[in-house]
Amino acid sequence: MEKYLYIALFAPFVSSLFSALFAQQKKMQFVGIVAPILIGISLMSSLLLLSHVHESGEAVRANLMDWIVVGDMNITFGFAVDQVTAVMMVVVTTVSTVVHIYSNYYMDHDISFNRFFSYLSAFVFSMMILVMSDNFLGLFIGWEGVGVCSWLLIGFWYHKKDESKDVNPSVSPSWAANEAFIVNRIADLGMLVGIFLIYWNLGTLTYTEVFAQLGTLDHTLLVWIGITLFIGAMGKSAQFPLHTWLTDAMEGPTPVSALIHAATMVTAGVYLVIRANPLYSQIPEVSYGIALLGTFVAIFAASMALVNRDLKRIVAYSTLSQLGYMFAAAGLGAYWIALFHLAAHAFFKALLFLGAGNVMHAMHDELDIFKMGGLKKKMFWSFLMMGLASLALAGIYPLAGFFSKDAILEAAFNEHTYGIWFVLWLTAGLTAFYSFRQVFIVFLGDERYHEIGAHPHEAKPYALWAMSVLAVLAVIFGWFREDFMEFITKFLPAYEMSEHTHHMVWILTIVTTAIAVTGILVAFFKYSKKLNRSEKTENSFAYKLLYNQYYIPHFYEKAITKPYAELSEIAWQELDMKVVDATVDGIAKTIESSGDVSRRAQDGNLSSYLKWMTAGFVLITIIAVISVVIK
């Protein structure tokens, strides 16, 4: 089985290197064929590993090499595939394969076609390291790896210029890439501190050893470790207040958004919390804080999605919101439910993004949904798939989202945290509304796209076939909830609902479905015929507040970015120019002027040379005499 482990891990790496060979050349179709095949091989290996883990119930372990051996420190490059990892691997490789195939369609006319595949495969490789590592340091390497790949891919169209806000309300790709990277650096510092704390106090970083020794640690220390690690998770999973980068990351190519910023990388934070469940189950106060933050982010992001007009940003906000759901579940101790929602969400959210990619392609990269409409006629299959994905997202029976989201709400109810339950319940309604607002505005109603002179067309069949895999999964994945639970709870702690909750399940389900359906119906009546816009609403304070993302980006710019830039300016002008540069220049000038003075010694006159020589002779003899006398 080790063999498959290595194949699953290194097939994306080979794919990346292979594509990188042609990165500087113009589009080569075979790159777009080889890369998905290699990722597909990785998927096959992951499935084999999954079935092996399923049958044997034991983790597959492999030790690639000793990595850092310094004194007492011994960190190995080890990998372990247990139940959680196997699920993550399958999710990652499935979405990756689909996205790789889809990218052939989406990036068809891009000049950097080969480079794109290289980055994308490198991302998959980093993600595999992240989920497969059996220690925190390997996880951190993968963590940084996906960060770098994310940076590369968000900024893939780095040549696009910054435009003023009235021309283009979004930011430039390179700006977005840097923002994502810098915000993640801040969070990663927290994570590093957590890792250091673990190593400092336990002398090991391997999961099994760390979790076995957790009981020996002080409670305060555990809280600190839990908080610092969660800060890392907050950055990667874009939780408040580090959430701004995720929506700006939509500047990257849409397949990237589907793979990285919906399905895999942003869920790494959730994965970390699930992975460290023995730690978080010992510090309930931190866990509760995580649940609260997740709940807050869920409704916070959903509220911003209500009014947004950008096709991809709406989906990005919904991703943020769903991540909040996952953290809420993990924080409440329902780790397997969090993982289940993670997997289900990966499928339907990737599908949603790819559908959005189709629309973007059809509309010539137009993102404003108010300029679309009536696309159903031209793009029926895209409409169907996006509709399916939105249904799954809204949590309508019998699609995947229904089962996973319902389970989270049940868990919230079961913990008697009714506030959390209520907010999440409300968010479910909002989710249904904004998802279908988007779908209806884009695909139904009057055909506004004529105004911008677009000629919509359906995506190529193979892209639709690739998406159909996700569509099928988005529909049927929820049906395997019981199997999933049975499988995963061999590793993760089981989560038992109380008797009371069991009685309430039916009522809860009905209530939840009711609000979701209500949301969809409201969206239908408001937007299915034509675009209803009212000046009054759009000028209201609430609308503006939401549309401007609660003014948080403005606040960050005013309170952090600007002062920092000014500080840098001062440091540059005052410190760098006047101290550092002056010192360096001073040294150079001293040397130059001393050379200018001593140049006169070399006047080409033998007589003066002889004088110098005599002076040297006198000097040396004086030194000799002195040294003899001193001795």
Binding site: T614, A615, F617, V618, T621
Partner: protein, 186 residues
């Protein structure tokens, strides 16, 4: 007796050499130099280095001075040397300092105590004889190397001096060559 001779010679040498380096007239300088050389050979005789005294007389006072004398025919020797003497102070300080230091070094009592004779002079044999023995046994190879060096110098002297010259001038050096050859035989 030795002391008187030493002081006479010493004062004479110092005086003559001072004339050499201070005189404006090259002829005076050269004459003083030649005289100084002769005086030095006197010192050698006092020290019992008879052979070296003779060589000093022959080579320095004879050959080298003759060489200078002939060489000076090429330069306008009768004219007074016009030189710009920059800072006399600098020359004075430098030479004074080095003189002081060297005198200190040589006058220091430590010098001379630790020196062990390398080649003991044979007792009861006169100086030229002893030198001959050492020269042709222990210092044979340096001696032959010196001979080759003199040959090379002779050829170099001829070539340098006779380059692009009229015949009459080059003859001057042909005349000087036997002198060099004679030194080889020393």
């Amino acid at each position: 007796m030795e002391a008187i001779a030493f002081y006479i010679f010493g004062v004479l040498i110092v005086g003559l050499f001072l004339v050499t380096i201070l005189s404006r007239d090259i002829l005076y300088s050269m004459s003083a130099l030649a005289a100084g050389m002769v005086m030095i050979s006197g010192l050698f005789f006092i020290l019992g280095a008879d052979f070296l005294g003779a060589v000093q007389l022959v080579v320095y006072s004879g050959a080298i001075m003759a060489l200078y004398a002939f060489g000076m025919m090429f330069f306008d020797a009768t004219r007074e040397v016009k030189e710009k003497h920059g800072s006399g102070l600098l020359v004075f300080i430098l030479s004074g300092a080095s003189a002081l230091i060297m005198v200190i070094i040589f006058a220091a009592p430590a010098i001379g105590n630790k020196i062990e004779p390398l080649v003991q002079a044979t007792k009861g044999v006169d100086n030229p004889h002893a030198i001959g023995e050492v020269l042709f046994t222990k210092y044979l190879i340096p001696f032959e190397v010196a001979a080759v060096m003199l040959l090379v110098a002779m050829i170099a002297g001829i070539i340098l001096a006779s380059k692009k010259m009229d015949e009459s001038l080059s003859e001057v050096y042909v005349g000087a060559d036997p002198e060099t050859e004679k030194k080889e035989q020393v």
